[in-house]
């Protein structure tokens, strides 16, 4: 089996006349938790949208689990959490998950499992519009977990969550990776980088660096990861 889950080659994306990704090349290893880090506006969501096949691309190739991104066969194998909480606000947590589970053909038990995974069991029968921002984000995350996907693509899943929940979710992500899933998780918070097996550092649509946190530390000689990021920026611009 191919050790690479996502292969991006010379990807070029232009949105509304602006070049968001000029020519991006990177890889995500199978079975890893890979962090996609970079400031807001660096092109993280655009890359993620390209990987799940909803972004119109101007050039290059994106291959996911051995198929072209967005291929029909991938739709049941890739879980996607959008940056905006894309669930139905007028339905309850459980109703939302039941709907997505039915579309995926996932069993009912998967619904309760996903609700438990994101610690929303106590809120399962509440209408989403009554939930806090962090809780809504977790509903959205739960829908991505349904159906035991081989690849999970999560756009800022831990924004606005309290530290305990964040820790629990990262544990969940690593648990899923241990069972063979691949995770691509974006974040604009550098301290989350610490929790990833591998990192893709993005800035202004260009890949600053990719590697494990330890590799990047060794390469830059910096200890803290935001310092690593700064030195890489200096290296690239200097």
């Amino acid at each position: 089996m191919d050790a690479v889950a996502i292969r991006v080659e010379a990807l070029r994306v232009v949105r509304g006349g602006t070049v968001v990704l000029p020519e991006l090349t990177c890889e995500v290893a199978r079975g890893s938790v890979t962090g996609l880090l970079g400031p807001s506006g660096s092109g993280k969501s655009t890359l993620i949208r390209s990987v799940v096949g909803v972004q119109r691309v101007a050039g290059g190739r994106v291959e996911v689990l051995g198929e072209p991104a967005g291929a029909k066969q991938l739709r049941a194998r890739v879980g996607y959490m959008t940056q905006a909480t894309s669930v139905y606000e007028d339905l309850t947590v459980r109703e939302n998950l039941r709907f997505f589970a039915r579309v995926l053909g996932a069993p009912r038990a998967a619904v309760e499992q996903a609700i438990g995974d994101v610690s929303l069991t106590g809120n399962a029968d509440r209408v989403v519009s009554r939930l806090s921002g962090g809780e809504r984000a977790r509903v959205s995350l739960a829908t991505a977990l349904l159906g035991v996907p081989d690849l999970l693509v999560l756009d800022e899943p831990t924004v606005g969550l309290d530290p305990v929940l964040r820790r629990d979710l990262w544990q969940l992500f690593h648990g899923l990776a241990d069972r063979g899933a691949t995770l691509l998780v974006s974040s604009h918070v550098m301290d989350e980088a610490e929790r990833c097996d591998a990192l893709l550092l993005l800035r202004a649509g260009r890949l600053l660096a990719q590697g494990t946190p330890a590799e990047l530390r060794a390469r830059t000689g910096a200890d803290r990861l935001d310092e690593v990021f700064l030195r890489l920026v200096d290296e690239a611009t200097g």
Partner: protein
């Protein structure tokens, strides 16, 4: 196409509507109010009510479902749920058919209640079978849904979507022959009228009211069904898996 996915979409849309009882009351209550007003307005001239009442009964669902569908689909586009759905094993036809089925159910409920009021309490009468009026109401609801779905692609905000109602629905109602006999229209207006689907929906209803269920009636129904399919196809074309 998958029955499971279509069913899931239909059930979800109905569930959302059930969560919004005020909208449901409006969908059923407003046509009831309007039919009652009409009856009282022409209290001394019963033939006018008998002439306008039945077509209106069949046309209400068109207007209601046009609005409800265009707003619901616009929300689906703007909140990101459509993008989510497009990454799932869900065909565009499943989505459209699911929406259609849910709104057809709603239209049927609306038609039954409004008909019960009009034919029962208000003393409205048609020479043809009342069930045909009901069936035409559901067909018109589907036509409204399909058009609403299509135009939702051209609205960025709910304000814009609401404005499509007077822009697309009103001219069709005005030119359908309900208010002015098509025979007495200026030729160019007549041509426009000929090109609008609601004209055929009105004619079919008028023929039912007069109990002339002839070949012309069948042709009118055929045109309405054709327009539903055409609008759905156009709507499907606006659902893109990949967007800019």
């Amino acid at each position: 196409m998958s029955l499971r996915v279509t069913g899931a979409v239909a059930a979800r849309v109905l569930q959302q509507l059930r969560r919004d009882p005020r909208t449901l009351v409006l969908i059923v209550g407003v046509p009831c109010l309007l039919e009652t007003l009409l009856k009282e307005l022409f209290a001394g001239r019963s033939p006018v009510f008998q002439h306008v009442g039945p077509p209106l009964l069949g046309l209400f669902p068109f207007v209601t479902m046009f609005l409800v569908t265009s707003i619901t689909m616009l929300r689906e586009r703007t909140t990101g749920t459509l993008e989510r759905l497009m990454t799932l094993p869900l065909g565009k036809l499943d989505l459209l058919a699911g929406y259609g089925a849910a709104f057809a159910v709603l239209a049927a409920i609306q038609a039954v209640i409004v008909s019960a009021l009009a034919f029962g309490l208000l003393g409205l009468d048609v020479a043809g079978p009342k069930e045909v009026v009901g069936a035409l109401a559901v067909a018109n609801a589907l036509l409204g849904s399909a058009l609403g779905l299509f135009v939702s692609a051209f609205a960025q905000t709910e304000f814009q979507a609401v404005q499509f109602m007077p822009a697309i629905v009103f001219p069709q109602v005005l030119l359908s022959g309900l208010f002015v006999d098509r025979g007495s229209m200026a030729t160019w207006l007549r041509w426009i009228s000929d090109a609008l689907p609601l004209t055929y929906a009105y004619e079919a209803l008028a023929r039912t009211a007069a109990n002339t269920l002839d070949g012309r009636f069948a042709a009118d129904v055929g045109v309405v069904c054709g327009c539903i399919v055409l609008a759905l196809a156009l709507g499907a074309a606006t659902l893109r898996r990949r967007t800019a």
